[in-house]
């Protein structure tokens, strides 16, 4: 026996003794106090000495003995508190939140300043499909030198090193945005865009990547004709360079594709005239519950460098939001996309200007830019419903295909996908969206601020 006892560490005895003592000591103090003949008498009770003794009239506090109802804290309270892993997490969360909350409040205060006429604003956003999230800074002046001229210059770099630097100037010619003269310039670097050759049935294993750098200058007129109708006529000069993707494990598009068959393989200079017409009746720009969007774009593009490049582009987008019920909490959201590029007089269309379907802005269940061709069509249906004041949930289905010409579209050529979506209404107008989509190539996950659909 003594041999066995000797094997037990001394501190174990100590712990056990402490536990046993605390187990006895944790009982209510009243358990041991005040039994008849042993306890201190309650002076008030003794003084009452009434024949009829109501139970529930307590004596006044100052007339009562100073005792506790328990003798100590619950058994092992501190020990349990300290060893509980959630206590550590609690401390961590507390510290983080203290820092974050101060930051949020400071940003909120700064946000109010943003509502002022000029200033600087930090923001989080993406730089287009597949770019990943990034942080940026925006310089703005809504009334430059008191002339009414608006200047907006966002600069954004994402964690994938996609870069987007833009400066836009809007000179009002007629009040209330009836007519503006626009001037703008953009530098856009996309480090690794997908390319799968051209066609509706390209193999997933044929993926290649390329980098594009675009420098653009544009000017023109935009008009807010009515509350819902907008139009624009712009001229744009673009210098697009195509190179190999940096640090990319996939094969370079330039290495993999027969250079002779790929127009615009080393980039191009394009001069474009763009006409747009938009009818926007959505009740909220990002999370509408009713209304819709009709958008038409026609552009003529002429190549200045990079080969015989000349083509027309026609784009059509329709969105409709159908509320189901009176509360506006259940919505059927429908979207149709159509695009076709038509070469002009036997000229060519640079490959990076072809219709590319797939990704967060077009068809979520496809890999980013999964299918390329001159024309493409996509249909999306989404059932959105509110699951909490700030959360929406959605189920969606998608069908899309690309083809050389619109006449080549066929009912059996569609690629299908489906998914679920979780939307957080971070503010009444700014949603964050998590999309989990499944298509022919597997699952895709997206996280977006202010999704366009």
């Amino acid at each position: 026996m003594s041999l066995v006892l000797n094997k037990i560490p001394r501190n174990c005895f100590f712990v056990i003794i402490c536990l046993v003592v605390s187990a006895n000591g944790g009982l209510l103090a009243q358990d041991r106090e005040n039994l008849p003949g042993t306890a201190e008498k309650n002076p008030k009770s003794e003084a009452q000495g009434l024949a009829a003794a109501p139970q529930q009239t307590p004596p006044e506090a100052e007339e009562q003995p100073r005792r506790r109802i328990v003798e100590g804290r619950p058994r092992l309270y501190l020990f349990k508190h300290v060893v509980n892993p959630l206590t550590g997490m609690n401390k961590l969360v507390k510290g983080t939140m203290a820092l974050t909350e101060r930051r949020i409040l400071a940003l909120a205060e700064r946000g109010r300043e943003v509502r002022a006429d000029r200033g600087m604003q930090f923001f989080l956003s993406g730089a287009g499909s597949g770019s990943g999230m990034g942080s940026g800074v925006r310089f703005f002046d809504k009334n430059l030198f008191g002339t009414g001229i608006r200047v907006d210059a966002p600069f954004l770099i994402t964690y994938k090193n996609y870069q987007l630097f833009t400066i836009n100037v809007a000179v009002p010619l007629l009040g209330n945005d009836r007519l503006n003269f626009d001037l703008g310039s953009t530098y856009r670097s996309r480090t690794k865009d997908n390319f799968w050759r051209i066609g509706n049935d390209t193999l997933y294993s044929d993926r290649t990547k390329f980098r594009s750098i675009t420098r653009e200058v544009r000017s023109g007129f935009s008009s807010r004709m009515t509350e819902h109708w907008h139009a624009g006529l712009h001229v744009s000069y673009r210098n697009i360079g195509i190179t190999k993707p940096a640090n990319e494990r996939f094969e370079s598009t330039q290495d993999a594709i027969d250079l002779g068959t790929l127009p615009g393989r080393r980039g191009a200079e394009l001069l474009s005239g763009i006409l747009t017409l938009e009818n926007d009746t959505k009740d909220n720009k990002y999370i509408p519950s009713t209304g819709g969007l009709r958008y038409v774009e026609v552009s003529l593009n002429e190549g200045l460098r990079g080969g015989d490049l000349s083509f027309w582009t026609y784009r059509l987008e329709l969105q409709q939001f159908v509320p189901l019920g009176k509360t506006g909490r259940k919505i059927l959201a429908l979207r149709a996309l159509f695009e076709t590029n038509q070469d002009k007089g036997g000229s060519q269309i640079p490959f990076f200007e072809l219709t590319a379907l797939g990704g967060s802005n077009t068809v979520r269940s496809f890999e980013n830019h999964r299918y390329w061709d001159k024309s493409g069509v996509a249909f999306l249906a989404e059932y959105r419903y509110r699951v909490w004041r700030a959360f929406d949930w959605a189920l969606f289905m998608e069908q899309a295909q690309v083809a050389p010409e619109p006449g080549d579209f066929g009912w059996t050529r569609f690629h299908s996908g489906y998914g679920v979506r979780f939307i957080i209404r971070a503010t009444p107008t700014v949603p964050l969206s998590f999309d989990f989509a499944h298509g022919g190539d597997g699952w895709r996950v997206y996280f977006r601020f202010k999704p366009s659909f």
Binding site: L35, Q56, Q64, A106
Partner: protein, 560 residues
Amino acid sequence: MVRHAVMPALILLALLPAVRGVEKLSIHPLWLDFDMENIKEPKERKISYYYSFFKAQFIEQAKQGLDMPRWFRAAIGKNKRASNINAVDEVPDSSWFTNRHHLRRMSIEALVRGPDRKETPDFGEGSVITRAKTEGVTLGLQIKDKHGVTYIIKFDDGKHAELQSGAEMVVTKILHAAGYNVPENYIAYFRPEHLKIGDKVMKGTAKPRPFEQKDLEDLLYSVAQMPDGSYRVLASKFLSGKPKGPFPQIGIRLDDPNDLIPHEHRRELRGLRVIASWLNHWDMKEDNALDMYVEEDGRKFLRHYLIDFGSSLGGGLSPWEYFHGRELAMDGANTMKEIFSLGFYETPDERKGDFISPAMGIFSNAEFDAEGWTPSFPVMAFENMTDEDALWGTRIILSFTEPELRAIIATAKYTNPADAEYLLKTLLARRQMIARHWLRKVNPLVEFSTELGEKGGVLRFKDLMVEHGLAGANSAEYVYEIRYKDRTMEKKSTRNPWIELSSSLPPAQNGTRKIEDPREDILEVTIQTVRAQTERDPVTVRLYNDRTQNRLRVIGVWRG
């Protein structure tokens, strides 16, 4: 091998509280839990809104999820008993709670006065703005009145005049009478032209600048104004002592040596759920409480206050929001129901209430659910509430008579008498619904008292169901059993609210008798209430036959 046995032994010992013995009874129930010993000044406990929300919503819920004894108790349908109840099933006075109206009847004047110790503030000419809060959800000022007393000023929203100020006033008085520590709140009026802006008043926190007259005008632009141009406000007097932050809703404040009982197991916090449901006091987040380091009788200790009741009754910044009191602000269960029903499950968030008036909002007794009432933020003490805790809370709200409630409501100074009348009727109706629900779940016998005469003893009690018109006078049969020494008498029954003990008791003696074994003088009566073929858990009343004093005293009440 022994070493291997140490860990299981430790675990078993840790689980011991789950099977800990029941409280023994004493002949002198403890009516003061003296947690007011002198302590070292604790640090201020700072807690942010988001942190308190996250903690209550996720961390503490997870902690409770890991509490095995709690699962065990849940499996057998018995929550842990509150830890601070005395032998007669009451809450002793402490730095948290003082037994007031339900045990020590207060006059109407005392109820109306509530916690107030001062005259109504006078914000006439000479009053000075000492601080301004122009950001955040609620706007406010601090004003030093003509008598030099500083008050926190809260406004009513311009579209809902008298809503929040009225609610805060009524609830302050009721919670005070119920026994809680609350601030002195007053309905007051001021004219902006009478106010002077103090030299050190700043606007903004990131880039502070002096608060100016224009800022005051901006602030007052969106708040309610009286027809005569004055502003009706809720003026809350600073609590005495040093603020030390809110008390944690769960666990113990470790820097307070007086704090021995985990707060989620304090009956006054558990039973507050019933009172809060009556008053629709849904905004029970942690920072709506405050510990004050006070000095009383030469001792310095923490006194625990409830504060901010502007979101009670129909109040709140968004008084049209129907979900308050009906689901959590972030209700995971309802969210999942929505997800899996494809949005066809209708949560309270989707519904709308009838708007009564600007001063009442949508406060009503329609669709009120006493059991299902939910604060907007999780409160562990509420989740731990037992039926006995609920009975305690129900007894408190039933202790107010209609005239008393009318007098309390009058302190809110509603301009339209119809609002006051509506509030009274709604509170009475909600109270009946609460009583009907909770009293049916327990044995509703309370207020046990005894008589001991020459013929023997009589145990009297009140049946709350009968007292409050929820059951007929003779609707129940009280089946009782008397135990004395080792003998258990034959079960008997009565329809009267008293039990004759004559034949069970030993003869009374003069005060000269020396007590040999005091347990010989203890008698237990177990009463089962049978009403409409349903039996409630019995209540056992322990009586002490004090032959030295020729008295029969109730020394214990045990339910269940």
